[in-house]
């Protein structure tokens, strides 16, 4: 509504200003200045001819010619002006100005209705559409929105970026995840894990087409920490994908040397080594011959740990430093998203203790009710 009030006021100002400009009582309105303005110029030119004559740039004969040219031009000009000054349309000026001013405003509104976006489409969403989403999803999105808002207010909030990065990966929003990992790298020194997180997100954006920047990041990760299994795993996958068999064999072997056999990725690494040893000609399943980075096993475990560590980090901070009721609510929601209802309940109780005033608790209680937490 406020927007429409502003547009109406703006249009009114424009309309009044236009009408006002063409009112008959203006001092210079209705008095044509054409002749006098132009004749000033002829005087200047006449003076210039005299100046040039005086400074001997023109001979007397040339100066006479120039004056004669000027005189002829002035006479022609006066003749044209006397013709045009008798225009019968002068009386229509007021009507023209009124109609044009009205048309300006009317046409502007019509065009804006066609092109503008006065109200956010989110607010216009059909309630049925909203209900179609599961409640958990809505809760999760709300939580995301809040954390995103937090990063907008303070782009240096590393905790927020960490929470978001995991959430984005879980939601398969890999471009946004890559952005979040970039911010983490900006705010914290590069480590093998952080570089690999970003590389992994870049790879996931378009699994069919390996992003060379991701490979560079993985190489940097290995440079920083030569025994980092995750980055080495991806590099070995890339060598296998490219059919660089010697390099792949070497990389798979050295990766397997790092393993203690209970890691989830060991089986995939062995199968890939077989593929590389057979120079790609093997009876092993196609997926093993060209390991698909989209489904690698090590990622899930690493990500699950990462998400938990983020939530634990938030929990620890709220326990030690306290926080707003919104942050407590967000933590409860996070545990619910992770399906850790016991932890969610404990956090809920801590939050109620921290904010005993009933007025503060409404949002939290609403969440608990919706999730049947109590």
């Amino acid at each position: 509504m406020t927007f429409w009030i502003f547009t109406f006021v703006l249009s009114l100002i424009v309309f009044v200003a236009l009408i006002y400009s063409g009112r008959p009582s203006r001092p210079d309105a209705g008095q044509d200045n054409i002749l006098s303005k132009t004749e000033d110029h002829f005087k200047v030119r006449l003076q210039k001819i005299d100046d040039d004559l005086e400074s001997k740039k023109l001979s007397v004969a040339d100066a006479d010619d120039a004056r004669a040219e000027l005189a002829r031009e002035l006479m022609r000009h006066r003749a044209v002006m006397s013709d045009t000054s008798q225009s019968p349309t002068k009386n229509r000026a007021g009507t023209v100005i009124s109609v044009a001013s009205f048309a300006v405003v009317a046409l502007a509104f019509v065009t804006y209705f066609g092109l503008g976006t006065p109200i956010s489409p989110i607010a216009d969403l059909d309630p049925a559409q909203l209900l179609a989403q599961s409640e958990a999803e809505i809760e999760f999105q709300e939580a995301m929105t809040r954390v995103e808002e937090q990063t907008r207010i303070n782009p240096d909030d590393i905790r927020a970026w960490q929470v978001l990065s995991s959430a984005y990966v879980n939601s398969a929003r890999y471009s946004e995840a890559a952005n979040a990992f970039r911010h983490i790298l900006r705010l914290e020194p590069p480590t093998a894990d952080r570089l690999t997180d970003l590389a992994q997100a870049l790879l996931m954006i378009s699994p069919a087409e390996v992003d060379p920047r991701a490979i560079e990041l993985l190489k940097s990760a290995v440079e920083l920490e030569p025994t980092h299994p995750r980055s080495r795993f991806f590099l070995a996958v890339d060598a296998t994908r490219l059919g660089e068999w010697d390099s792949a064999i070497e990389q798979w072997n050295s990766l397997l040397e790092l393993a203690s056999d209970d890691e989830p990725w060991v089986q995939a690494a062995r199968e890939s080594l077989e593929v590389a040893l057979a120079r790609g000609e093997t009876d092993a399943p196609v997926d093993a011959r060209q390991p698909n980075i989209d489904e690698d096993i090590i990622i899930d475990a690493a990500q699950a740990d990462q998400i938990r560590s983020m939530v634990a980090s938030l929990d620890a901070r709220l326990a030690s430093e306290g926080g707003t009721i919104e942050e407590w609510t967000q933590l409860v929601r996070s545990y619910l998203v992770l399906n850790e209802r016991e932890m969610a309940l404990q956090t809920y109780e801590k939050a109620i203790a921290a904010y005993p005033d009933v007025n503060d608790q409404s949002q939290l209680r609403q969440l608990a009710e919706q999730e049947n937490l109590l």
């Binding site: 547009t7 703006l10 424009v14 200003a17 236009l18 006002y20 400009s21 063409g22 008959p24 203006r26 210079d28 309105a29 209705g30 008095q31 044509d32 303005k37 132009t38 000033d40 110029h41 002829f42 005087k43 200047v44 030119r45 003076q47 210039k48 100046d51 040039d52 740039k57 023109l58 040339d62 010619d65 120039a66 000027l70 031009e73 000009h77 044209v80 225009s87 002068k90 229509r92 000026a93 023209v96 100005i97 044009a100 300006v104 405003v105 046409l107 502007a108 065009t111 092109l115 503008g116 976006t117 956010s120 995103e148 907008r152 782009p155 946004e176 952005n179 970039r182 790298l185 920047r213």
Partner: protein, 657 residues
């Protein structure tokens, strides 16, 4: 809400422009109230477009990514300056900047046009209104800068790193001031054709606008050249890139217009030609816009390709050029020939100047468009590069440079060539002497470069000689010369400055083209590259972390032939959001020359490829253009030009040239 208000303001400005155009074209003869209405409309139109541009800037500054444009071209961690410049670092925003400047010029005409005849002013504002309406419609319907994104992304995609430079804050606004300023000359030309008011007074009114546009265009092109020089890492100052050519063509036409307008104003001659040039200059600006925005070119200047936009601009180009020249042809028989003059006269010299400039426009136009036409018709890909332009453009410019100093010495209507030659003998002798010294300093070989130096020096010395001749230095007592000097009109100073600028520009171009040196070597820390007597030593390599990029910074120590030791840094940057790498050159200036260092790739054994250039007298190129543009602004400060006609009858007695 500010975004939507900005959108509404732009639409309202568009409808005002439409009304301004319609009312102006149909009722221009009424004058009085109608002209007042049109003046008000032009001012309101500008204020509304300015408000919409401010809304766009606010969205970028606040990183409001619900604005699609901000999401596509901005990033939260960009420095504030680049958040603002990112507004016009893309097609949609730069088009709005173009419209801001265009409506700004329209408002300036409306405000300062009290001294213009009301019928002419009404028509000028009507044409400006039509242009404004066309451009605003183009913006709203094909390139809407206020398009929204819901839900809005958390982060933007960042501005192209090459554009994250102070150059983006300077080059496009200056260039647009030049391009769009020529729209005023165009509007005056069309208004003159419609009203039949084509006389010397018209030339007097249009000349300040041509002068201002020309000065801004000169600065815009020069700043673009310097930006490309230091940012792109190629060490070149002009590439004959089609888009560069597209800015050069209106500049050449505007230069010709400036000179022909002088003849028209002073002697009421060259009327048809001046009107033709006024239309041509703006048409060439639109052609430049078409080349940049249609997507038919691949260049650092070209914005995203979009055939729809290209077709719309092409249609606008056809309507503007076709309409204006159609009107020109229709009214041509009513255009009277003006004052007569002898071939050897100042008018004659200015006509020759115009012929060379117009032919140069044609040469550049052919070289720029021929490959495009050939590709469109036959699918054949060819490249027309520096050799073509050096031969055609260079050959045309050489005789023009020879005659430049003669012009100011010639009398109007009928000149005495022998007498003028005698008066210039001293300047000629001095020129030869200086050229001999310069050639000896540079190695003593006679070559094309020596001839180029001779020409540049001739133009520069010739420009000064005109003032020396005016004050009769050496012919009368010094005190008398001093008294004459104080009486030299400003227009003579501006002519001298502009022509002197051309001279030193030519010296800069010739020097750097003939005597530039380049070395490409693999260098490790502590090692040295020697070039032109300078020693460039790599000191160390470090990592620099900024908000939006990470840079590998290499420090160099440069020892000049005179033993001065200074340091500079070259960088290779990787921008956080886009992960695009860029190279930043290290530069050191010695007098008018520069040492220019860029980084190449790092080899496996830790040694880095380094390119080092020695650029003799390269600074003169941009210094020359600053002189030219400065002369334009100085000339604008002349009250008679600034306001069109004297304020009162008494001012008529003001000394003239």
């Amino acid at each position: 809400m500010p975004i939507e208000l900005g959108h509404f303001a732009l639409i309202l400005a568009g409808t005002i422009a439409l009304a301004q155009s319609a009312v102006g074209f149909f009722f221009w003869r009424i004058g009085g109230r109608i002209t007042s209405y049109l003046r008000q409309a032009a001012v309101l139109q500008f204020l509304l477009v300015l408000a919409s541009f401010a809304a766009l800037i606010q969205a970028f500054v606040l990183s409001d990514f619900s604005l699609k444009l901000a999401a596509d071209y901005s990033y939260t961690l960009q420095p504030l300056l680049y958040k603002i410049t990112a507004v016009w670092g893309n097609h949609e925003g730069s088009l709005l900047l173009w419209i801001v400047i265009m409506t700004g010029f329209g408002a300036a005409v409306a405000i300062s046009g009290k001294n213009l005849p009301s019928d002419l002013l009404a028509l000028v504002l009507a044409v400006q209104g039509a242009l404004g309406a066309a451009f605003i419609a183009f913006s709203l319907f094909t390139s809407n800068p206020f398009a929204r994104l819901f839900p809005s992304p958390l982060e933007g995609q960042d501005l192209n790193p090459i554009l994250q430079d102070i150059g983006l804050a300077i080059h496009p606004p200056l260039l647009y001031l030049g391009y769009v300023g020529l729209s005023i000359c165009f509007s005056f030309a069309v208004a003159a054709l419609i009203s039949g008011r084509i006389d010397a007074a018209w030339a007097r009114w249009v000349r300040p606008w041509a002068l201002g546009s020309w000065a801004f265009l000169t600065l815009g092109i020069a700043m673009g050249s310097y930006w490309a020089y230091y940012e792109l890492g190629w060490g070149g100052w002009w590439f004959w890139d089609p888009v560069e050519n597209a800015s050069l063509m209106p500049w050449l036409a505007a230069t010709a217009l400036l000179h022909s307008a002088i003849v028209m104003e002073k002697r009421n001659a060259l009327k048809v030609w001046t009107i033709f040039l006024a239309i041509l200059a703006f048409s060439l600006s639109l052609l430049g816009m078409f080349l940049v925005r249609s997507g038919i070119l691949t260049s650092v200047h070209s914005f995203a390709s979009d055939p729809t936009r290209g077709m719309v601009i092409l249609s606008m180009l056809m309507v503007v050029i076709g309409g204006a020249y159609g009107l020109f042809a229709w009214r041509a028989k009513s255009l009277r020939a003006g004052g007569l003059f002898a071939p050897i006269s100042r008018e004659g010299m200015l006509v020759v100047n115009n012929l060379f400039l117009a032919t140069a426009v044609i040469a550049v136009l052919v070289g720029t468009l021929y490959p495009l036409v050939l590709e469109a018709t036959n699918g054949v890909l060819i490249s027309v590069g520096a050799p073509f332009f050096d031969l055609t453009f260079g050959v045309l410019m050489a005789p023009l440079l020879i005659i430049i100093p003669f012009g100011p010495f010639m009398a109007w209507k009928r000149g005495d060539f022998v007498a003028v030659t005698q008066r210039m003998a001293g300047a000629a002798g001095f020129t030869v002497l200086i050229t001999i010294v310069l050639v000896m300093v540079s190695g003593g070989k006679i070559s094309l470069a020596s001839l180029g130096l001779l020409l540049g020096t001739w133009v520069g010395i010739g420009a000064i000689a005109e003032i020396v001749d005016r004050i009769k230095l050496g012919k009368v007592k010094f005190s008398q010369s001093w008294a004459h000097l104080k009486g030299v009109p400003r227009i003579a100073w501006t002519t001298m400055l502009a022509h002197f600028g051309v001279g030193i520009f030519v010296i800069g171009v010739v020097s750097v083209t003939a005597w530039e040196m380049e070395k490409v070597e693999e260098v490790a820390i502590g090692q040295t590259v020697e070039i032109a007597g300078y020693e460039v030593k790599m000191l160390d390599v470090s990592r620099r972390l900024e908000d939006n990029f990470v840079a590998e910074k290499v420090m160099f120590e440069v020892t000049s032939p005179w033993g001065w030791v200074t340091q500079t840094a070259s960088e290779k940057r990787v921008y956080t959001a886009s992960q695009i790498p860029t190279t930043e050159a290290g530069m050191l200036t010695y007098g008018f020359s520069q040492i220019y260092i860029t980084l190449g790739d790092l080899s496996e054994d830790g040694v880095r490829v380094v390119r080092v250039w020695y650029k003799p007298f390269i600074i003169l190129i941009w210094l020359g253009t600053l002189f030219m543009a400065g002369a334009g602004f100085l000339s604008l400060s002349d009250r008679r030009l600034r306001i069109g006609v004297p304020k009162s009858a008494r001012a008529v007695a003001e000394p003239a040239e």
